[in-house]
Subunit: 589 residues, 2 copies
C-alpha cells in the first residue's frame, strides 16, 4: 500500500533540460556534476522511500503529545532515530558551506531533493526545512560569531530551528506584533524577549538537544509597522546550559501534519541576541521566507507524485466495468482493468502532467537561484535573480493549490478505498491542505507578485521572463515538431502580457483592482510559465534524442490541451475587475 | 464557533421563484401551501441548528465503536436521544404517505429540508436518508404486505434501513456481485442469503430496534450481469424476534463522517424476502439510488452554507492589514476588518454565489419531482420527469465537487484557524469529500448523463431542458434589466448545444469519446443550468418587486462574471476529445 518510487529520472531529465550544466560549470560547484547529482539523488531517494516513508503513517496516527506540567513535546517513537539518520547522512546541511560543516551543494540539488523528504514524511521534513531556512538567513545577515555558533549545529542535527513570526492577533499583518525585546543592562548585545507567538512549527520537540528560535520582536524605541521589527536568536538552552525562559504553552490540533508540532510559545524575558541591524528584522526573515516559500511550493509536486503513484498502483490491480472499446475487452474476464477507462486515464494524466509541469517550474527556478548567487557575470546574476523573485510567489501559491487538487483527484481514482485509512492518500490530502495557508497565504503571494514583483524596476522582472519565452519561440522557428506547442504558447504569453498591462493600468489608480484580480492573475501566470517549461522539455528531448521524448510529448500535449485552457476562464475573471465582489454591501454577505 | 442560521428565507424565495404554487395547487398537497412550508422549515431549521448541530463535533471526535466479540456497533452518546427527537418530530416520514404513518409532504419540502439535517450533522443525517430512500423504493416496487410491515417502522424511527450493493470486488460494476439468494424449501417466498457486502452505511448501529437491509443478490438461476440481480429485504431481527444471520464483520476507518458507521456485512444464510420480480432488483434499487443521488447532491449546498457562515462569522471579527482603498481605512485602528479586502470578498462571494446557485438547481428539480409524480396532465408529468432524469446526475456530481471546493475556500478565509479543530470547517471538508464517491462516483453520473439521459428518446430530455431556457429568454425579451444575464445565457446555452451535438456525433462511432468528455461536459452543463436558474431568480425578484432583488442581482452577477466563465475552459476540454488521455501506453503512466 505504501508506494513511492522517487522520481530521480524525471528530476535528472529536468536538470539537464533547464541547463544544470551552467550550474555545475560554476567554480563553487565543481564537485557537483550531473553524475554526482544523480548518484546522490538515487541514494537519498532510496533512503527516504525505504527508511523514512514507513514512519509517516505512524506519525499521523500517534501525533504529538504535549505535557502541560513540563511543557515538553513528544514526537512519535520512530522519529528520533530517523532524525539521527537524516542528520548523519548530511541532508540537513546539504546547501550549507563546508566551512560550517555542510556539503555546499547547489540549491538546485537541495530544492529538487526536498521533494523526497516531503513525500516520504511531510511532518518530519518540516523540521529539517527550518534548519536549512535559518541557515540561509544567518549566512546573509548574522555576525561571524553567530554563524559559527549556530550553523554547524543546525547542519549536524544537534539543534533545531524555528521561525517565530505570528502572534494571536496578527499573522499576515506582521506590523502589529507586540513581542518586546529590551536590552539587558549589564551584558553586551543581549536582549530579553517577552511575548506570545502562535503557529510555531517545531517550536518545541524532543528531536534535538537544543532549539534556536528566530524571533521577530520590537525594541522599546521601535517605529510603528514592519519598519520597527527586529530579529533575534533565542535558544532554548543558553550557552551556559541553563534553560531559557521560552516555553511551549500548548499545541494545536489540526486536520493534518499530525506529527508536526504546531506550538504556542511564550517568551517570559527569554534571553536573545539580535541578528543584523535594529528594525531590519524583516530583511533576514524575508531571506528565510523566500527559501521556505519555494520549498513549500515543492510540497505540491511532492504529494502529487506520491498520491499519483499510490493511485496508479491501485488502478493497475483494480478491475471494474468493461472497456468502452470492444477491442480492448478481455474476453475471459468479467471486468477489465480500470486503466482502460478514459476518465480514469483523464484523472491520472491530469495529475501526471500537472506534477511534472510544477516540478519543471521548480527546476528552472532553482537553477536560477544558483546562478543568481554564483554566476561571475553581474548581468546574468541579475537576470537569474529577477526570475527567482518573480517565480517564487507563483510556485508557492500555484503548486500548493494544484497539489491539493491533484491529491484529491488521485484519491478519486481509488474510490471509497482512498477515503479510508487503508490507503495513505487521505493523509496526503489532509497534510497538503495547510500549504495554501502557511508561509504567507496564497493570496499574499498573489499580492507580492502583482504589487511588488510586477512593479519593481519598471517591470524588468516581467520582461526578463517574457524574453525567455521569446528566445524559446525563436529557437523553435522552423522546427515542425514544436509547432503544436509554440502556437498556443505564443497565445498564452500574449494574453498574459495583455492582462498584465490592463491590470497595471487599472491598479495604478485603484489598488483594490489589483487585490481583486491578483489570485486569478497568478494562476494564469503559472499556467503560462508551465506551458513554457513544458515546451522546453519537449524541445530538449527532441534536440538530445532523449528516450523520454515520446512520453514527454504526450504529457506536454495533455497539459496544452486539457490544463492550459483553464487560462481562458482566468483571463475573464481577471478582466471582470473588482466590481463583482466589491459591489456587495457588508450586510449582503 | 458553531454557527448555523438555516437558510429558510432563501429556500422560500427559491420555492416561489421556481413555481412551488404549481405543487401546492395539486390535490395531493393541498395541506402544504407556502406559508405552511415556511413555518415547517423555520421550526425544523431551529431544531437542527439548536439541538442537532452540537452533536456533530462530538460525533467526529468519538466516532464509532465496533465490538469484535458481539459484532455490535456503538454510535456516539448523544445520537440515540437526538435520533428519538428526529423521529418524534416526524422528519423521517416527511414524504411518506399518511396511510403508512408519514406526513405526505411534497418532495420539494423533503429535499430542501434535507439541507438542514446534513449541515447540522452529516453523519447522523445519513441514517435518516436511508429510511426515506428505502421508503420510496418500497412504495414503487414492494407488495402491500411488505409496505405495511416496513414503511411505518421506518417513518417512526423504530427501524433503520440500509442499501447493500457493493462487494469487495465490485462497486461501480454491480453485474459482478456474488451474494447468493436461495429459496427456503419449506416456506413460501422466503430466501436465504449468503455473501459479503462492503461500504454499508449504518449497516449496524444502536439507534433503532431493528434494521432492515435492502440487499442485492443473485438467484441460483440468475443470468449474468445486472440483468440477473434481485432485491431482498433482510431484517436484523426476524418477525418472530430471533436474530437473523446478518452481522457486521468490521467497520472502516475514514477521513471523515466518523460518526456514520461504514460496515462490512456478512450474510450467512440470512433470511430475506424478495421485493418485486426476480432479476429485476436493479429497478427497485434505482428508485432508491435516484432519490439518494439528489439528496447527496444537496450535501454540496448544505456544507457550503454552514462553512460559509462559519467563515463569514470569523471574518467579521478578524482585523488584519489596511484596506487597499485609503477611504475605507479605520484611522483609529492598526488594521481593518478583513471584509474590506477584495480577495476575502472574492472567496466569500464565490461560495455564496455557487451555494445559492446549486440550491436553486435543487429547488427547480425538486419541484419537477413533485410535478412528475402528481400532475394530472400526462404531458406535464413527462416533461417534469425528463428534467428530473436529466438533472439528477448533474446535481449529484456537480454539487458534490463544487461543495468540496467551496468548503476548502471557506477554510482559506479563516487561515490557520480553519486548519485546526478550533473551527469546525476542517470537519466539514473531511465530511464533504466522500460525496464525490458514494452513490455512484461522479464519473458514473457523467456517463449516466451522456450515455443514457442525452440519448434517451432521441434527445427529448435535452430538448425539454433547452425549451425552458428558450422560454425564459423570450419572457425577458425587452426587459432591459435582464439583458446582462440573457445575453451570456444565450451564449452558454448555444455553446452547450453545440458541444452536445459534436459529442453525440463523435460518440456514436466511438464510446471512448463519450467517456473521455463526460465529466467535463457534465460540469459545463451544470454551469449553464445554474446560469439559467440564476436568471430566473433575478427575473422573479424583478417581477415581484422582491426585497431580495438587489442582493440577488449582485450575486447573480458574480456568478455570471466569475463562475460561468469556467465554461470556456470546459468547452475546450470537451473538444479535445479522447486522444490526450488515450494516446498514452499503459506503461507510460
Amino acid at each position: 500500500m505504501l508506494t513511492y518510487d522517487p522520481p530521480v529520472d524525471d528530476i535528472v531529465f529536468l536538470m539537464k533540460a533547464f541547463g544544470y550544466d551552467r550550474v555545475s560549470d560554476l567554480e563553487a560547484f565543481e564537485n557537483y556534476d550531473l553524475e554526482t547529482a544523480r548518484m546522490f539523488l538515487e541514494e537519498g531517494g532510496e533512503f527516504f522511500s525505504e527508511e523514512v516513508l514507513p514512519t509517516n503513517r505512524e506519525g499521523d496516527k500517534e501525533g504529538i503529545e504535549w505535557d502541560p506540567e513540563t511543557k515538553a513535546v513528544t514526537t512519535p517513537d520512530s522519529f528520533k532515530d530517523i532524525w539521527g539518520q537524516i542528520a548523519a547522512n548530511g541532508y540537513l546541511g546539504l546547501n550549507t558551506p563546508t566551512e560550517y560543516g555542510g556539503m555546499e551543494a547547489p540549491y538546485t540539488i537541495g530544492t529538487m531533493f526536498s521533494e523526497f523528504g516531503t513525500a516520504a514524511n511531510k511532518s518530519l521534513s518540516m523540521c529539517g526545512g527550518l534548519s536549512s531556512g535559518l541557515t540561509i538567513a544567518l549566512l546573509e545577515n548574522a555576525s561571524e560569531e553567530q554563524k559559527e555558533t549556530v550553523i554547524p549545529k543546525l547542519a549536524n542535527g544537534e539543534w533545531g530551528a524555528t521561525m517565530a513570526l505570528t502572534e494571536p492577533h496578527c499573522g499576515t499583518d506582521l506590523g502589529m506584533i507586540r513581542t518586546k525585546a529590551e536590552p539587558v543592562d549589564d551584558e553586551d548585545n543581549a536582549y530579553r524577549l517577552s511575548g506570545n507567538k502562535i503557529w510555531i512549527t517545531f517550536g518545541e520537540h524532543d528531536l534535538t538537544d537544543n532549539i534556536v528560535h528566530f524571533v521577530l520582536a520590537k525594541l522599546p524605541d521601535a517605529p510603528e509597522g514592519t519598519d520597527g521589527i527586529s530579529a533575534f536568536l533565542v535558544p532554548k538552552y543558553l550557552p551556559d546550559g541553563t534553560r531559557n525562559d521560552v516555553h511551549c504553552a500548548g499545541i494545536d490540533h489540526k486536520m493534518g501534519i499530525h506529527a508536526s508540532p504546531t506550538c504556542e510559545m511564550k517568551y517570559d524575558g527569554a534571553k536573545g541576541w539580535m541578528v543584523g541591524e535594529p528594525h531590519e528584522g524583516m530583511k533576514s526573515m524575508f531571506v528565510m521566507m523566500n527559501e521556505a516559500r519555494l520549498k513549500v511550493g515543492v510540497e505540491g509536486p511532492a504529494l502529487s507524485e506520491i498520491a499519483y503513484q499510490t493511485a496508479l498502483n491501485w488502478a493497475k490491480d483494480r478491475k471494474q466495468g468493461k472497456a468502452l472499446d470492444p477491442d480492448k475487452r478481455d474476453p475471459d474476464a468479467k471486468a477489465d482493468n480500470i486503466l482502460v477507462h478514459p476518465d480514469v486515464r483523464r484523472m491520472l494524466a491530469d495529475v501526471k502532467a500537472s506534477t511534472e509541469g510544477m516540478r519543471s517550474l521548480v527546476a528552472w527556478t532553482s537553477i536560477q537561484m544558483d546562478l543568481a548567487h554564483e554566476h561571475p557575470d553581474e548581468e546574468k546574476r541579475q537576470e537569474a535573480e529577477d526570475l527567482v523573485s518573480l517565480l517564487t510567489p507563483i510556485i508557492k501559491a500555484y503548486c500548493t493549490k494544484q497539489g491539493f487538487e491533484n491529491v484529491s483527484e488521485a484519491l478519486q481514482v481509488t474510490g471509497g478505498s482512498g477515503y479510508t485509512k487503508d490507503l495513505p492518500i487521505e493523509q496526503y490530502l489532509r497534510d497538503m491542505r495547510i500549504a495554501m495557508i502557511y508561509e504567507g497565504t496564497n493570496h499574499i503571494q498573489a499580492l507580492d507578485l502583482v504589487g511588488r514583483k510586477l512593479t519593481k524596476d519598471d517591470g524588468r522582472l516581467y520582461r526578463t521572463f517574457q524574453s525567455r519565452i521569446t528566445e524559446l519561440i525563436s529557437e523553435c522557428d522552423g522546427v515542425e515538431e514544436m509547432e503544436e506547442f509554440i502556437e498556443p504558447l505564443k497565445d498564452a504569453s500574449q494574453e498574459l502580457t495583455d492582462l498584465t498591462m490592463k491590470l497595471g493600468a487599472k491598479a495604478a489608480d485603484d489598488r483594490e483592482q489589483a487585490g481583486a484580480a491578483a489570485s486569478n492573475y497568478l494562476h494564469h501566470f503559472a499556467l503560462t510559465a508551465i506551458a513554457y517549461t513544458w515546451a522546453r522539455q519537449v524541445k530538449y528531448a527532441i534536440d538530445h534524442d532523449s528516450d523520454q521524448l515520446e512520453t514527454k510529448r504526450k504529457t506536454a500535449r495533455y497539459f496544452y490541451e486539457m490544463i492550459l485552457p483553464e487560462r481562458k476562464a482566468l483571463a475573464k475573471q481577471v478582466e471582470a475587475g473588482k466590481e463583482p465582489m466589491m459591489d456587495f454591501e457588508r450586510s449582503e454577505f
